[in-house]
Symmetry: D2
Subunit: 346 residues, 4 copies
């Protein structure tokens, strides 16, 4: 069945599979010490324009968030995030499991506002009883957000300035970073992210890899013994080659950008199709996730032929649903979806 | 200096001190196995009309909350609380330190609403991705709340019914329970609490003891090896007698109720005095905590002669402040405060 | 350079790579709900003769141990393991990070003795102060052990009987299980393991997969919401297909057994070669890990041409070293190693 | 019944009770900010000859160990302790509950040897795979130990020098520190402890207080926001006055030393009595805990008239038992015990 459920329904980009096959019988050392991890890290440093960056490869997003947040916070600190942030809602309490509170700010289409962050921090320090409260120790943002929205470069710079004033790190979760960077509607680049953030990760799982996320500490600022922290979180892959080869491939000849751009083009086609059919957008994002408001009766008929996510109940009759494109989406997929829509709506 | 800052500015009721002195050289076994702990537990069982209750004595509120919540939740569960709940805000992340998320509901003068709890629980179970979320594993309420407000018996019964439908325990934090039970404006009794809740604690620290909270599992329903859980939390007092003697004294001849009633009478005097002086209430509670809105200039002058809490900034000129009475407040204290107010406002 | 450093220096068995390529563009649901995970689980159930087994696929060994142990223990319980157990020594404290103590027993070539386990458990319960101690809540063994040694079926049955008497689960870490099952010197089968243990895992990473471990709860006895526990540990792979396809391949036409048997044959050749050259065994194991005592001067020369592990310093002049074969080791590898040894020892 | 079971069977020294009564109705601020905590801290600074020391008052030993160890270690670090250390065995896993491993060294009558510590540390750093292991991040010793034995000043200096070389803190658990300092057989003083250690605590619970331990960071070297760490551990007492008044009393006119010296004198009488009756010592300590080997038949008769601890089964017929004196033991207690012994052995 046709699926727009998410951006990880297919395997990996074919170049990745062929590189895995070519290198398969090379004997390589484990735990990220192999030559492919080294090469991938160097290519990422170049792409970020951060010659001193430290790079670590982990398998998935939740474990990356837990290792970074748990590894960087003092015991009495928590992480600030949007109320809709992935760490706030959809990681089964993985952050709290490391002993740290997620401190939430209001979300605005998935984003936090610099002014609200500043108020939060100032209010905390002014509070007479703040020693009895969780200290804000880090700011977490996702880019694109869980709603597919994007920070502008000005917004990132504002958040960064506030974090620096308060001497807490800014962490950007880039599970879908490629789709953000290649949006038609952004002025944010990888080097800008590297300048604004103290740590971020470049998502592979949702952007063409079988698995894998690349954590970047842009100014040689990884916590001491971060490899051991990764191991302690159960997140150190024995065959680190699997991650090194994938990221080396993604960062060779701009594959990461090229396949992300393709997903954006598919998303633009998708939006165009939805508009032509006068479907009701809940949120039309500049990246690869689109949110519609559909009647439940229509959802029922549509679900027989195509997979997509039920995001949230809106009222008794209508539900917010999500359609996602990816590096693997084809024009034919879009055309099929439109044909199904036309058929249903006749 | 005169203080209405909180209900723990004095030591202990004199009867407690004299009992400690009388029993001082008795040789007693440790960790809550002494005869005074046994006697206190029996008196509490009677007061709760729960012959099968299991009672544990701990030293303070935060450690009690951490031991009860951490000890009863499965690893994948969190505790639901009002956004203003003590566990949500003022325990320095002690609950998250045990690995569990505090899931917040909107607060209404410190209370949660049964309807919102029900919606939260239903929505959780209906959510397609709830397996990626923190499971609601317990409901925490405080009674009186952090704002001195009280649940009615009907409200407690509603919350209890919802919890039983969803098979999660209802936990009542009674740090100031005496002041709630003795309010002029309540239909909630200790036996009713015992019937509605699966676990609750009777606060001693704020109601006449040097320290100590009595945890009650009303239906022989303590988690297995709860004593070891207490020890693991660093909350098992070696000289358990210190807690046993205090609670035995408080639950002899209704001392706990009598001194709580006195605090309520002092609070009524305090409210009367505030009204007579046309002070602006932010929240006039039925218990021992009263919240006023004062001009900052007035606060500055008042602070020279009396201690009270700055609760929250309201705007540039005004602040919400809190005045608290206790078992130890006297008519003279109230009279002094009123004289100071009159002097300042001349 | 030639490597006998460990059993994860190569990628994956070629059948796995070709299956990944063949299925790459199928659109599959995530988190282990795809048809390949379902098929793999069914094949594992058959191989274990456990029609009711629940199977979960995780990425690596440390995270598997943390999720299983952290997910099954009560907060006041610890896990019993050999002093040399992987969880005791080489997981960077991942078990303690979940809040649980590793309680160690003496090791005998990596194994624990049933009699010592029984004494430990009896002594614990007899101890007057056991409520102040960590309760033994699970027994962890590795099979093969970290020294390549194997339990006999009688030994497993004894351990199992003790665990059942004391009502604590027996957990077997099978990171190298294939090499244990295919040893020339064992009477232990997969169904026997399933009968004796309450949970175990079948290692993929070290036995031909790119990554992946299959956790088996043989009697439908997984902890409630174990999927959420996995997620909370950051161990739930988005593209679960990566694990499902690998295990489906390994358990089709006995590939797992066949490649394990090959590794054992290579190990037998290796041992023969070592004996013919009169090398000094520290421990000659029945599986794929062999331990020699070598002079440091020889190690230095050998290291220029071949990789192997320095296990432990024996004295000033000698070190215990480890050579490992795997599914990917060839006769040519062995011959090359022997030629190097002959050249060095001339 | 007469009790030599431990050093916390009585309440508190009478001076403490009278000071509590005298100050009872003073209105004091909470959480250790009152004038008595301030005064007690200053007196402890003087006694330690550490004008810059930071002092915190906690309620009990286990919570103190958890807050200090959990608050000072990085997430990837563990604490080194003797296999018989209180944190290793008798705190119900409170240290592991904070996420940290207790790394054990062999014990020698409860003590660790500097040479073995040095070997452990050197071996750790030399180990090729130490990044996969728990980093040694602190050394924990108890003084007196759990066996009543004492380090010499030379031994403390050696341990201190090793810790400084390896840049890890030395932490001394002084639950019974008074009895160590007042032993007839020691050259260790409080200023020496303050010079050698990076953090230690002066025990009150076992030395005349109702409860309370004073943590000393001798060189203004407390972890940042240690008060919040204490709160997070549920270990911040609301009525801090209870601890301040007790320690202020204990450190006024050397009360702490005087009552400790008395306990030592009682222990000397006890030992003399045991020797005169040719009882079999398992370990004759220089402090207030004495260990005998008694036949089980004798234990049975003795237990009818006197309480003492069963320490450990020695063989089928004999058990190691412990007798403890304290600040509250009287010559009459000793005489009664001896009379009972004489009667039984007739």
């Amino acid at each position: 069945m046709l699926s727009f459920e998410n951006d990880y329904v297919e395997g990996a980009h074919e170049k990745i599979l062929s590189r895995l096959a070519e290198t398969n019988l090379e004997q390589l050392s484990g735990y990220g010490t192999d030559r492919y991890c080294t090469a991938a890290a160097e290519k990422i440093r170049n792409a970020c324009e951060c010659p001193d960056a430290e790079i670590f490869f982990l398998v998935g997003g939740t474990q990356t968030n837990a290792a970074v947040i748990g590894g960087m916070l003092a015991s009495y600190e928590g992480v600030i995030a949007a109320a809709t942030g992935h760490v706030s809602v959809h990681e089964a309490g993985a952050i709290e499991y490391t002993g740290h509170k997620v401190l939430t700010l209001p979300e605005h289409e998935g984003k936090i506002h610099a002014a609200e962050l500043e108020t939060y921090l100032r209010t905390f320090w002014e509070d007479e009883s703040h020693e009895h409260m969780v200290f804000p120790g880090m700011v977490y943002i996702s880019h694109p957000t869980e709603y597919g929205t994007l920070y502008t470069s000005a917004e990132l710079e504002d958040l960064s300035a506030i974090c620096r004033t308060h001497q807490i790190p800014l962490y950007l979760d880039g599970a879908r970073l490629g789709y953000g960077l290649m949006s038609h509607n952004t002025d944010v680049t990888l080097p800008l992210i590297a300048r604004c953030c103290d740590v971020f990760y470049i998502g592979g799982t949702k952007v063409g890899a079988l698995c894998g996320e690349a954590v970047v500490f842009p100014r040689h600022n990884a916590p001491k013994h971060f490899l051991t922290i990764i191991k302690q979180h159960g997140a150190l892959l024995a065959k680190g080659r699997l991650l090194g080869i994938q990221f080396d491939t993604l960062f060779t000849e701009e594959l990461y950008c090229r396949i992300s751009r393709h997903a954006i083009e598919m998303a633009e086609l998708l939006k165009k199709g939805f508009h032509e059919r006068s479907l009701n957008f809940y949120l039309e994002s500049p990246t690869n996730q689109q949110f519609l408001i559909l009647k439940n009766s229509m959802i029922e008929r549509l679900k027989r032929q195509v997979d997509f996510s039920l995001w949230q109940k809106l009222d008794e009759d209508r539900t917010i649903v999500r359609f996602v494109t990816s590096w693997a989406t084809t024009k034919e997929h879009i055309a099929q979806l439109m044909a199904i829509l036309d058929e249903i709506r006749v």
